[in-house]
């Protein structure tokens, strides 16, 4: 935790899908320079909460403050413009486009010729080449190669590189290491730690509790659309963490353990 003023403050957030109560009065703070692990079973509401933060869903009730200001409009484009980036395993890169084109997708740099906005290919190529080199993509991959040719880990690397390059402030990683080889997973996790150290807020969603216990500064556990635990990672052992998730909440766990 690097500052007292939270970068994202969620207060009493409710979200309904029809009659289904997906998020139940969730309140949580996220700070810049923090690595927060968000865990819980399937259907616990992790991804739903994240989708509110990156503008895909608008909450039914409650408030979201970003950098001290109340968020009133929810749209992915606005979230990206504010510097909130989401990295998911399956989406984020278009297979049919080159790395350079993917890099700037949605905010392409242009050079105006006769007032017509043409893509600035040099800038796109130079900058994305520099980033993929910095983030350790093998040397024979060029920015003009189609994403289709990359492996799963390389894709994640490109996404992370893109997130950093655009001076993002929040990096949300939704199961970023699914289907990756052991080495690739370590590389992606190293990058995430580096970003935290550069002052970004990293929110990391995973099922892999032992992994997140090692990586995270703080762990938030959700269950049935509610936040049931919010603790510093070192205040809780891995076994305790597992017990909380298994039994759904501290009350049960207390009965069980004492």
């Amino acid at each position: 935790m690097s500052s007292n003023h939270p970068l994202i403050r969620v207060t009493n957030l409710d979200l309904y899908f029809g009659v289904f109560h997906a998020l139940k009065s969730v309140s949580v703070d996220f700070h810049a320079g923090e690595f927060v692990g968000l865990v819980g079973d399937n259907g616990a509401g992790k991804t739903t909460l994240i989708r509110v933060l990156c503008g895909i869903y608008a909450p039914s009730n409650g408030e979201v403050h970003f950098d001290g200001k109340r968020v009133t409009n929810f749209h992915p484009k606005l979230a990206i413009d504010q510097g909130i980036e989401t990295i998911q395993q399956a989406v984020g890169l278009c297979d049919n486009l080159s790395i350079a084109r993917n890099f700037y997708l949605g905010r392409e740099p242009v050079k105006r010729i006769l007032g017509i906005p043409f893509l600035d290919f040099n800038k796109m190529r130079d900058k994305s080449t520099r980033v993929i080199r910095t983030f350790g993509l093998r040397d024979n991959v060029s920015a003009d190669d189609e994403v289709e040719q990359l492996s799963g880990g390389e894709r994640q690397t490109v996404k992370i590189g893109r997130a950093v390059e655009f001076k993002n402030r929040v990096l949300i990683m939704d199961e970023p290491t699914n289907h990756l080889s052991v080495r690739e997973r370590e590389h992606v996790n190293e990058l995430a730690i580096q970003l935290k150290e550069q002052g970004l807020l990293v929110i990391y969603i995973t099922h892999d509790i032992s992994q997140v216990h090692k990586l995270a500064d703080r762990i938030v556990i959700m269950e049935n659309g509610e936040k049931i635990e919010d603790t510093q990672a070192d205040a809780m052992s891995l076994e305790e963490l597992e017990a909380v998730i298994r039994h759904g909440g501290r009350t049960v766990e207390k009965d069980h353990m004492h």
């Binding site: 992915p76 484009k77 990206i80 413009d81 989401t86 998911q88 399956a90 989406v91 984020g92 890169l93 278009c94 297979d95 049919n96 486009l97 084109r101 993917n102 700037y104 997708l105 949605g106 905010r107 392409e108 242009v110 017509i116 906005p117 043409f118 893509l119 290919f121 080199r133 350790g136 993509l137 093998r138 040397d139 024979n140 991959v141 190669d145 189609e146 289709e148 040719q149 492996s151 880990g153 390389e154 690397t157 080495r183 690739e184 590389h187």
Partner: protein
């Protein structure tokens, strides 16, 4: 610096070349020209045949380019033949009231509206484009029937001689104006597709709409853009056709949706979206129209033409798909 085990990406040059869309079409056109020359040299390589082929290929190419844009965005437009017909009928019918220029604008407005209505139904209504444009095919054709009541309409002499009519339907250096318009559209659209943000987003929307949306691309607007451009091009094709032969009939443009899809697919557009080529679509149109003239030159009944287009379409789509997979695309 490489963090991951190195896979071989080095591939043979020819395979790299095949990654580009439209290679199949070029191979096809070469094969076709060789075949036609061998079969029937005298019937094919004549000024008359070539000029006819160029003229009608240019008109079909306008439609095929629009279709290609829609296919690249991973949708399909079955209504272009009817939009073509309806714009043409508007152009001819409104001339008496609005003059040639006004009628031309009216025709383009009608085409734009056709595209817009269908795009809204696809994007906002969340319906498959095949169903919506199938509806459009019927509805716009129906409007033609109801409006003209089956009558044939034409231009009076002074409208035929009007400079605007000549500009779209006349000749320049002995070559039909349609050809130059087609080249202009090809150049502009190729730039739009490959060198502007809109083009990048169109390719991204067709390739992976979900990923594009997470990058803040408004995929619904991009798709609407593709549909509207397709309809406007169909309208332009209608105007160019009727400026040359100012006479409408109710069946104007029937089956053109099929020919335009055939041309776009022969030209290397993959229905899985995100990949395609406008040059390929133009070549595809050339192939389709050439077949018609070669069959006529060979003295076959004109109905065989439909059969041949069908065969060429199936061969082209299977071949292009095979080519794309061989080149390493995931389609």
């Amino acid at each position: 610096m490489a963090a991951f085990e190195t896979r071989t990406v080095a591939m043979p040059t020819i395979r790299k070349l095949a990654r580009g869309s439209g290679v199949g079409a070029i191979a096809g056109v070469v094969a076709m020209l060789v075949a036609f020359t061998l079969i029937d040299f005298s019937g094919w390589w004549t000024i008359q045949t070539l000029s006819n082929v160029m003229h009608f290929a240019s008109i079909l190419a306008l439609l095929a380019m629009g279709q290609a844009l829609v296919i690249i965005s991973k949708e399909i437009d079955l209504s272009v033949g009817s939009v073509y017909g309806l714009s043409g009928v508007t152009f001819i019918s409104m001339q008496a009231d609005l003059g040639v220029g006004g009628a031309m604008i009216a025709a383009l407005i009608v085409a734009t509206l056709c595209g817009l209505v269908q795009a809204l139904a696809v994007v906002k209504g969340g319906l498959p484009s095949m169903i919506v444009t199938l509806g459009g095919l019927f509805a716009f054709r129906g409007i033609i029937y109801v409006w003209t009541g089956g009558s044939v309409r034409g231009f009076p002499e002074e409208a035929r001689m009007h400079w605007l009519t000549r500009m779209f339907g006349g000749e320049l250096f002995g070559i039909e104006a349609a050809f130059f318009w087609m080249l202009l559209v090809l150049a502009v659209l190729s730039l739009v597709l490959w060198a502007t943000p809109f083009g990048n987003r169109l390719l991204a929307t067709g390739g992976d709409a979900e990923s594009a949306a997470t990058r803040g691309v408004r995929t619904d607007r991009v798709k609407m853009g593709a549909f509207v451009m397709c309809s406007i091009l169909a309208g332009c094709a209608g105007i160019v056709t009727l400026a040359d032969q100012p006479q409408t009939h109710v069946t104007l443009g029937e089956l053109l949706e099929l020919e335009s899809i055939a041309a776009a697919v022969i030209g290397g557009c993959l229905l899985s979206g995100g990949r395609g080529s406008l040059v390929g679509a133009v070549i595809g149109a050339f192939i389709v129209v050439s077949f018609r003239y070669e069959l006529i030159a060979l003295g076959a009944p004109s109905s065989w033409f439909i059969t041949f287009v069908g065969i060429v379409l199936i061969i082209a789509v299977v071949f292009n798909q095979w080519l794309a997979r061989w080149a390493g695309h995931n389609v």
